[in-house]
Subunit: 255 residues, 2 copies
């Protein structure tokens, strides 16, 4: 075989456009002029095979999406992926991700899984060393699983969320079939945009030093680098740079 | 294994953003509200493994990109792709594609390769039955290999191109490292945009009934559905719909 045996691997489909957004950000993070300058990449987008994450984390179903994620990680690795990332914050919750990574490593995978939320914590320590209060906008599933809290604790960061009613309104802005971002992403509906901005505002009011767009649908609703002067962080962009860095640091743009 | 054994397969990397653009158009062509509504898809983007297509077709190198394309088709099929498309008009030229498809079918592939240029011809006959003169904007490689002429002949379509100097200026608008679309895609440079528009104008002057954006970089420079009243066709969009149709016709939006 003469084609590359190693590549960046993306487990997409959670949802489909978020997978695409990560691939876009990976290409944008590469220093390239000619086609041949770009790194090899494989995307698996198998949305129908992965049961709903939020419902599982909220205990509404016992169907753990981690098993399908694990099988797809293994298929990605068999296809040639050596550095793997997954653009879904909720899916990084331990009850799912632990199952999936256990399957991957037991299959003999010798490569690296780049953990988006862990990398976001590192990024904050490096780029915002004085930040203490980190506001997080995320799904009810990621909130219930405390995935941000558990990973940010070691970086000595205090995690803030909107109040219960606000979290519910945020979840609807993400997944409502009537107006949510998953159903209407280009353009995002005014109602979804307004709901997300309202919840970002409650984090500003809680004196957040930073706001994390902790669901891959949210950067579509809240564009720009700041919200009312508070820096907005997009974990997908951080993951994209970390994947390029892990695969070939020489290729990273803006090193 | 519980995850889907069949999927749409995209051979991207020719260039990287064109692969992404096809995947985006495939998702947009699917009727979906929830993540789980979308079809399974695998993208292989291995740009550095595929030698430059135009240089080969112009006889500047003997390094036939068809061999790497064939190997990547086989890897896509092994990973689970059953309906395969490739978003690069130039790469559909017979001296490359024949080699690649021969490798794929000899490997035992039982699925379908959806030919972008053939499908564009069919689309024209179906949607523009009175069209006779089809203007084509493409690379010097696709022009030299007469890939549009050979596939459109059977549909009784007359293919028009810009004059020699215009084709050269178009090639530069695509691939110049100083201002071409491959190097500067968001945003496209004014110079590249102007060059492409100038060549579209020469096709209008030749009384083209339609203009085909016959290089996957061109829809980035010439957006919109018409140019000076003449319909613009984007083969990537046509391919996206055909891939969804071939994989699961029930999922096609706007049937």
């Amino acid at each position: 075989m003469t084609t590359s045996q190693k590549s960046i691997g993306v487990l997409g489909g959670l949802g489909p456009y978020a997978g695409l957004d990560l691939v876009h950000k990976i290409f944008d993070a590469i220093q390239g002029e000619r086609d041949q300058d770009y790194l090899p990449l494989i995307l698996f987008s198998f949305p129908a095979d992965i049961p709903p994450r939020v419902e599982f984390l909220l205990g509404k179903t016992d169907d753990n999406p981690g098993y399908a994620m694990g099988e797809l990680f293994i298929r990605l690795a068999q296809a040639g992926a050596s550095v793997i990332g997954m653009p879904c914050n909720t899916a990084h919750s331990a009850p799912m991700l632990d199952v999936a990574l256990d399957m991957l490593y037991k299959s003999g995978f010798k490569g690296q899984f780049v953990h988006m939320i862990e990398e976001t914590g590192k990024y904050i320590k490096e780029h915002f060393p004085h930040a203490r209060n980190v506001g997080v906008l995320c799904t009810q599933g990621a909130y219930a699983a405390k995935v941000f809290d558990s990973h940010f604790k070691k970086f000595d960061l205090n995690v803030l969320y909107p109040e219960a009613e606000g979290r519910d309104s945020l979840q609807k802005a993400i997944s409502s079939p009537e107006y949510g971002i998953k159903a209407f992403s280009s353009p995002v509906t005014d109602l979804a945009q307004h709901s997300v901005a309202m919840q970002a505002k409650t984090l500003v009011d809680q004196n957040a030093d930073l706001i994390i767009l902790g669901c891959t649908e949210l950067p579509l609703a809240l564009t720009g680098n700041t919200f009312e002067g508070v820096p907005l962080l997009d974990p997908t962009r951080i993951l994209a740079e970390c994947l390029v860095m892990a695969f070939d640091p020489e290729k990273l743009k803006n090193k």
